[in-house]
């Protein structure tokens, strides 16, 4: 039961990260490495502000921090035409120092004594809050982002990812749309980090290593469950994917001989195999066709 509840909580909190990844990876079709930095950025900012006694303020502060990180990547990519992957790497590397700075020069910060959002919810014990708040935030973020992508502005961003050339020829500022999309994406990712820092009661700068693969795995697993359909289902499937991912991880660590440190490898393998599937399928089909052709001779 504890395993079940724990995975539910983590799945929902990392689900917010998956929403952000879905925006860059599926809507813009650009894998955004800023994620690795902005998740830790949210984590650090949240920890620092919480330690200073403002657990609630920590959330908007992290949102803003993530949005800025995303905007930097977006501007590098659009205005200065740096390769998408490279712009993400540049921001991510820079953020490493900034995160250490935010954490006061140390690689981690404990919040054990600090008041967190989980301790200050009225009528709820900390234990209950740790289930209720993730549900609340996951639903709030999913609903907000789905609504946004049904507005005119959200539609413009989708069109940019779908047919950039067409959008360029239709009076929409493509570059501004991209910067905005990266900001929103990384704001969500940082928010995910922010809540997780308070949930765990500590911030550790290394916890964001490989986080992009975790998010990608969630998005991909979600699509395996729901298929790739509209935008609304897309976001919901990202959250569900994140939940399924957490349960897979929980079962794997509990019932298999794998050590916890093997998890990122498992995630990487899941993502690698899934992304390779279309090519494998077409290769197999081509091979079948060749064999068939030989028989006809």
């Amino acid at each position: 039961m504890k395993l079940f509840i724990g995975s539910l909580q983590l799945g929902l909190l990392y689900g917010i990260l998956a929403l952000g990844i879905y925006i860059s990876f599926r809507i813009l079709s650009i894998p955004d490495l800023t994620t690795e930095g902005s998740f830790a950025f949210g984590l650090s900012v949240s920890a620092a502000v919480t330690a200073a006694g403002h657990p609630l303020l920590a959330l908007p502060a992290s949102l803003l921090a993530g949005a800025c990180a995303g905007a930097v990547t977006g501007i590098l990519q659009t205005r200065y035409r740096i390769h998408p992957i490279l712009s993400g790497i540049i921001t991510m590397s820079g953020l490493y120092s900034i995160n250490l700075m935010v954490l006061g020069g140390a690689p981690n910060l404990s919040l054990v004594r600090a008041s967190t959002i989980f301790k200050i919810v009225p009528f709820l014990s900390k234990n209950d809050a740790m289930t209720v708040l993730p549900i609340f935030f996951a639903i709030l973020c999913t609903a907000a982002i789905i609504l946004f992508y049904h507005t005119h502005l959200g539609m413009c961003i989708r069109a940019v990812g779908d047919n950039e050339e067409m959008v360029r020829a239709s009076s929409i500022n493509v570059d501004a749309c991209k910067v905005l999309a990266f900001s929103i994406s990384n704001a969500l990712i940082a928010l995910s980090g922010a809540i997780i820092a308070q949930y765990q009661g500590y911030a550790d700068i290394s916890s964001s290593t490989g986080i992009l693969v975790v998010g990608l795995a969630s998005v991909i697993i979600g699509e395996a469950v729901f298929g790739r359909r509209g935008i609304t289902l897309g976001f919901i499937s990202a959250i569900v994917g994140s939940l399924v991912y957490r349960y897979i991880i929980a079962l794997a660590t509990r019932y298999s001989p794998l050590d916890a440190y093997m998890l990122r490898l498992v995630s990487a393998v899941i993502v690698g195999i899934t992304l390779a599937m279309p090519a494998v399928k077409s290769n197999l089909a081509a091979a079948r066709q060749k064999r068939g052709g030989a028989q006809d001779d």
């Binding site: 049904h150 507005t151 539609m155 989708r158 360029r168 009076s171």
Partner: protein
């Protein structure tokens, strides 16, 4: 309405493959004119369109739209006033978005409220009505992703996207060339109707001399980045495809003769 003054565009300047795409080209098109543009490959027809749309900036010369100098206006700002349909049906629409979403995107270019929900119910009703005029059954497929439509259907949607908010200028870049003859005729009929209904100022590139003469109010023929022939009114009415070919060959000849004279 649209005016180019001494437009010059040279690609790959200073290299061995330097190519003058627009050579001091001047063109003045009045409001409501429907100009068809002929010319062989490399004559500068598409470059002319790109110059008007701001895909690149001119090396020299000016572009004026409706009296305003737009020579240095960024592409996305110009496109609020200019509608453009390409030859490739894939270019004008977002394939993974539905018909109504694509139309809404285009419609909002002048009715843009960034955070209002789109497409609104009022928009949907308008789109349905306009699509029904095509007689292609598209009005019942508003929630279909555009990527699933045929080339002709996609061009029809693109055309509606370009004209649903009447643009100051409509540019058609061989927009029926990739379609089968029957579909091409259909899309051409839709084009004529759209242009007539809103008295749109239109430039249309085509390779079909007969349709160039039968469509619109004026025909120009381009060659080597400039205008070789400019026919309108009675003169154009009395011109046949044969005449056009003769005129074309004739003016090419004259140009050669001039060169020879200069060399001597």
């Amino acid at each position: 309405m649209i005016e180019l003054r001494n437009a010059v565009k040279i690609f790959e300047k200073g290299t061995a493959i330097e190519h003058t795409a627009l050579n001091r080209l001047s063109l003045h098109v009045e409001k409501g004119e429907f100009v068809t543009i002929l010319g062989s490959n490399g004559a500068g027809k598409s470059t002319l369109f790109n110059a008007i749309c701001g895909t690149f900036l001119l090396d020299s010369g000016r572009v004026l739209l409706d009296g305003n100098d737009i020579t240095y206006m960024p592409e996305h700002k110009r496109s609020a006033m200019i509608g453009r349909v390409f030859q490739d049906p894939m270019k004008g629409t977002a394939p993974h978005m539905t018909i109504e979403e694509n139309l809404s995107l285009a419609y909002s270019r002048r009715h843009a409220k960034p955070l209002s929900f789109a497409p609104s119910r009022r928009q949907t009703a308008l789109f349905r009505e306009r699509l029904a005029e095509f007689g292609m059954g598209l009005e019942d497929r508003m929630k279909t992703k555009v990527g699933l439509l045929s080339g002709g259907q996609r061009q029809a949607v693109t055309l509606l996207m370009c004209t649903i908010v009447p643009p100051k200028l409509l540019l058609l870049d061989e927009h029926t060339a990739a379609l089968d003859p029957a579909t091409a005729d259909k899309v051409m009929a839709i084009t004529r109707k759209a242009v007539e209904d809103d008295h749109l100022t239109t430039l249309m590139i085509t390779h079909n001399m007969a349709s160039a003469l039968s469509t619109g109010t004026r025909t120009i023929m381009m060659d080597e980045g400039n205008i070789l022939l400019d026919l309108s009114g009675e003169e154009r009415e009395h011109t046949s495809v044969d005449d056009l070919l003769k005129l074309y060959a004739g003016s090419k000849h004259r140009a050669f003769d001039n060169d020879r004279m200069m060399l001597q």
